[in-house]
Symmetry: D3
Amino acid sequence: MTDAADDEDRARTVRLSALTAPEYVDWIAAGDAVAILPTGAFEQHGPHLPLGTDALLSSAVATAVAERTGAKVLEPFTLGYKSQQRSGGGNHLPGTISLDADALIAQARQLLRGLLSQGVRHVVVLNGHYENTQFLYEGADLALRDLGLDPGAAQSVMLLSYWDYVSPSTLEEVYPDGFPGWDVEHGGVLETSLLLHLRPELVHMKRAVSHPPAAPFRFDRLPVVAERTPDTGCLSAPDGASAEKGELLFTQTVADLADELRAELGLGRP
Amino acid sequence: MTDAADDEDRARTVRLSALTAPEYVDWIAAGDAVAILPTGAFEQHGPHLPLGTDALLSSAVATAVAERTGAKVLEPFTLGYKSQQRSGGGNHLPGTISLDADALIAQARQLLRGLLSQGVRHVVVLNGHYENTQFLYEGADLALRDLGLDPGAAQSVMLLSYWDYVSPSTLEEVYPDGFPGWDVEHGGVLETSLLLHLRPELVHMKRAVSHPPAAPFRFDRLPVVAERTPDTGCLSAPDGASAEKGELLFTQTVADLADELRAELGLGRP
Amino acid sequence: MTDAADDEDRARTVRLSALTAPEYVDWIAAGDAVAILPTGAFEQHGPHLPLGTDALLSSAVATAVAERTGAKVLEPFTLGYKSQQRSGGGNHLPGTISLDADALIAQARQLLRGLLSQGVRHVVVLNGHYENTQFLYEGADLALRDLGLDPGAAQSVMLLSYWDYVSPSTLEEVYPDGFPGWDVEHGGVLETSLLLHLRPELVHMKRAVSHPPAAPFRFDRLPVVAERTPDTGCLSAPDGASAEKGELLFTQTVADLADELRAELGLGRP
Amino acid sequence: MTDAADDEDRARTVRLSALTAPEYVDWIAAGDAVAILPTGAFEQHGPHLPLGTDALLSSAVATAVAERTGAKVLEPFTLGYKSQQRSGGGNHLPGTISLDADALIAQARQLLRGLLSQGVRHVVVLNGHYENTQFLYEGADLALRDLGLDPGAAQSVMLLSYWDYVSPSTLEEVYPDGFPGWDVEHGGVLETSLLLHLRPELVHMKRAVSHPPAAPFRFDRLPVVAERTPDTGCLSAPDGASAEKGELLFTQTVADLADELRAELGLGRP
Amino acid sequence: MTDAADDEDRARTVRLSALTAPEYVDWIAAGDAVAILPTGAFEQHGPHLPLGTDALLSSAVATAVAERTGAKVLEPFTLGYKSQQRSGGGNHLPGTISLDADALIAQARQLLRGLLSQGVRHVVVLNGHYENTQFLYEGADLALRDLGLDPGAAQSVMLLSYWDYVSPSTLEEVYPDGFPGWDVEHGGVLETSLLLHLRPELVHMKRAVSHPPAAPFRFDRLPVVAERTPDTGCLSAPDGASAEKGELLFTQTVADLADELRAELGLGRP
Amino acid sequence: MTDAADDEDRARTVRLSALTAPEYVDWIAAGDAVAILPTGAFEQHGPHLPLGTDALLSSAVATAVAERTGAKVLEPFTLGYKSQQRSGGGNHLPGTISLDADALIAQARQLLRGLLSQGVRHVVVLNGHYENTQFLYEGADLALRDLGLDPGAAQSVMLLSYWDYVSPSTLEEVYPDGFPGWDVEHGGVLETSLLLHLRPELVHMKRAVSHPPAAPFRFDRLPVVAERTPDTGCLSAPDGASAEKGELLFTQTVADLADELRAELGLGRP
């Protein structure tokens, strides 16, 4: 387990909002400024995880990646797109408050446009809430159009979700009985283990409920058929989640993600 | 191989736009009107497939499903969301002309709102262009909000992509050397085989080029790195595509999809 | 009468969506690519005509004009702006489902911007639904602004409605008792005759009802006074409509429209 | 000729903005409050007419109609939709500054919604700039949707253009050599005569230039072909315009329009 | 007291809409064209002042400033942003009809963009309704962005409210018992005195009611607590208002504002 | 000085995002749930303060107020409306990245709508960036309209800025040489002292520069005249700022604000 205050201290050193304006100017002037934008949601995560889980996790990953790459971390998007029943239980559940597409797109577009127009070289949008992806993509695309950045430009936006960096071997270790798929990883072993590792004081394992994963569907139905979301609001139970698994997940994912950014963006080590 | 004129005749019998207004009124009045909206894109599909591939395929599937379920088919959305490099080669390629999120969302929202407000019981959005999904979802969600349709309502919207109904056994037969994943199925064996079965006159197999599938990426990068899309614009080559595979794919998918709709929406057979 | 399958075959040769990407690139590269966009609506057209009448007619005209000018035809806009009581009976009638201005403008703007930015020389928006006009105009104007195309530019958008190409002598022949005006030509002799010529299997002349034309009004009133629309939903009866008149209308209009485009845009004959 | 100060005084008695709030409340409480909204544009009107011609004319007509019907007049919309080459010379001309569709629609929607929601019984949108019509219509339609006002509602919006109330006999007298059509009536005999009658001090007849009317076109072309607008910016010359014709036009049009409103809305005389 | 007809005449000479297009072109060509845009609202102003007070006052100030600076005056914005309880009594009161932010921003943006793009050197937005300010600012900022006008550009927009030019000595004279603050100056001594000076026929002093100023609040609350607005709808009573005070306020404010514009924009005297 | 880790711990207990969904449900069910939304900006604050100053301060005040009132604190809005030259130095300065009005309005509207629709009784928007105010107001107003909450409703939104709760006696103590006004309090004594008290590790007093306050202007000018912002980017220097003053400011402001909320919303003490 880590210590929240320590985390907070470490986060400060990579937090872009902690810089003064002259420090920011110097950071840009160096020519290879990379900013990471963690994104999440305000969304129910079952009886044992906090509503802010998604942004907490993407922020923690972003901070650790930044420490390993010399990037800076932006304040997270703590509101996300609507929770969908197939991936998050549904937007009808209390504790889930979401943005429409237009607000999320506009917010991403305007922030990315601002960063790139001031000279940030690359912005990495590090997503922690599945449903955000396409709207963040649209925001990035529109920001680039606003700025006239076409293929071959020196600046770029990368968009990724941290779970796509969990390796097969980690998956095997974390899910010894078989990986149920990212679709049902809402309030399940991944998120619970990570948070047990990163913010144990926010996890209430005694309240966790064991139940089979939500049945997979090949379609979205709207309005949702409420009964299709397990009563807990989790799409799979956190059975077997542990801080140790969380540490493994975190360490491996952060390392691979940092490697990817270094390779893709030509970054050194800080 | 089927006959285009035959197809056209059959399509007419299930096409909602072919009804007169009194016929439409009767159709609604029966209380169980189901309309299927095929969606596609205007998008390059390599040297051997036409730009309109996605809407052609979703329309053909929709027509066949409608014949088996008593549903009616709406005119397709022939413009779609931006082609993304990981799933469609990228929006920078000539022959790809796309809508921004706002136009696609608005069009879906307003059509769905109109249909449901006039008494259509269920609308099935049958997608044929991967990148459309989330924007169609938002359109559906906003239409339901406009109408105050909450969980438990008698009316609904279903949203699905036809390839999610390809069965494992079909996959095995169609991809005897292993299924490369839907991500790279752009201009590949699935789409080519289906079009060889449905519209052979539009497929130019002699111009098809064999090449390895596009490398998988765990991130989107914008602007795209153009070289990451194979020169053909296809994410995987149509090697081994055939009308026979197309027939198998079409027949099985249509049957399973029709079954799903019957089960989910309580439809009989026409 | 024509044959639907034949029509379909001929349509294919001029349909832009039937091209492969390399064919599209060649078409653009020739420097004089002209694309025609047919636009219509989903709108009640009385007891004898199908809901999709407007797009069927504009598409047929577009196809024939393309064959005579070497232009290509885009997939039609099958949803249009709200039917107005003075020109279409009103938007309150079942079978009429319309777009708000914003969605129609956005769709036109984005498609036109895409086509022109990829090098299409001219786009001809060929309208078949009266109420669309001004919103298509706004879409075109915004697309040109987006691209910085000012007077004198080599590229352009033309916007026209096919009925404006019906000649006085044709009018006289088609309406021997006097032309009632385009305002009330909704489900009347023009549309019925054209469809009898082009798609007789979709016309139900036995269900047509004779009645005087709707009274002309010098104002729009909203909400509509429902009784002002004749019970049939037609603003004038199709009395005297015939396939022969349809052929005359079609042949003359297509010829004059093709001549106009050739003259205006400097096109040769294909 | 009338006197501007007199006009101003008379206008004041019917101007809604001149009421105090308690007077406004009383006006509404009477149950039959009718408000007239004059709409115009900021648009070049040739060398002899002022940029504000359209709103000046619609406001004068509105005031006179209000005096004859007991209605109140709202402050005019002095900015309008883009001048189109076929009806106003074009939006590229200096002195023409226009709104996009979205702003005009939003302004109309919000004003009409506000008036109707506070109990105004009917709002008459009295247009003086051709290109405004459809966008005002959309604004009205959306306002009614916002308020849930469906056919049969006690409240309504009427939308009309004052020139549609010019009678055939007036036309004959005003255009003894034949009426060239409303399309080319931009800076021509109608507008010039009316303004000579109403605001002679704003008309510079000595600067008026005689020229044939603009050639009629069956299409819009964008960007405009600048040469197609006569050098004056007028689509027809004001040859033969006179204050006497203006008085005839004004008197007859106002009378017929007032009659129409009384009949349509069940108004008495003030 | 001034004379309305005189005012009207003088206003005409500085009104931009009274120019013909060639005069407008000349005005621009001189290189130092300054246009003033008065903005107001349609808003209850107590029992003694008219609904249109804000635009009347800003227009009168604009006209007088224009006469002293050679600027031209645009037609006023007569609809404004929502009245807020702390500054205008609240948007819930009959007689107050407001725009949402989007419409006001769009209207300002498009007008300012048009003026600047045609060569107007500076536009001065002269506000008369407190709540408008930030939305006019956003409109101006977006117009400048549209045109690529950055710091150092030769063109500019100024945004100000006329009451900010009331001098301390005037304040002392007008409010001998102490100035209650601009927040509660809604229907109070300033507006009443100014209108008594400028348009006495529109002021009903006998209906004015004396009451203490509205209590100041450090917060906005929505929905409003209706009782917090005095029954009159005024935030302070017009006790002691007089035409003489109005003349002083008007004369001093106009003089200082004209001086400011001359100094800031390098204008001469007309 | 306080301890960051302690602060973090205390913040956690009142942070809404730290609740699990069942805890959230219980909180709502109690019937008097109050949520505080701190809002700030990403904005240069001179050489000595961090870019995230505004949200840090509003969040700290929100947390302390929540502890004294039983309210919960939402994640802050860390992006704000454009910095204006008169109140924040201007949006052209590096380190300032802002939202347009539309994104800020939409984000506020959708979050407030979500909270109120799920049963939160009151939301207090606690602003820390001057320029945000009107756009947050619009967001709140639209959220209430969406929900049909009119005067008299049991639910409400309060909107306030923390500096409006600094008392006269505190002002006197903090600014012994006279209070220069909130307008120029950007990077000055208030913000610096507060941050010295709350997050001393983020303040670089040695880099602070003494200079006279920015000259006051009675107008906004766009584009800004860059020289009018002091070189530091601060509108007044932090001369005399101290942690002691910060403690006084914080303690008094929090106490008065908590009292206000208790009185206004009928809250007890936690």
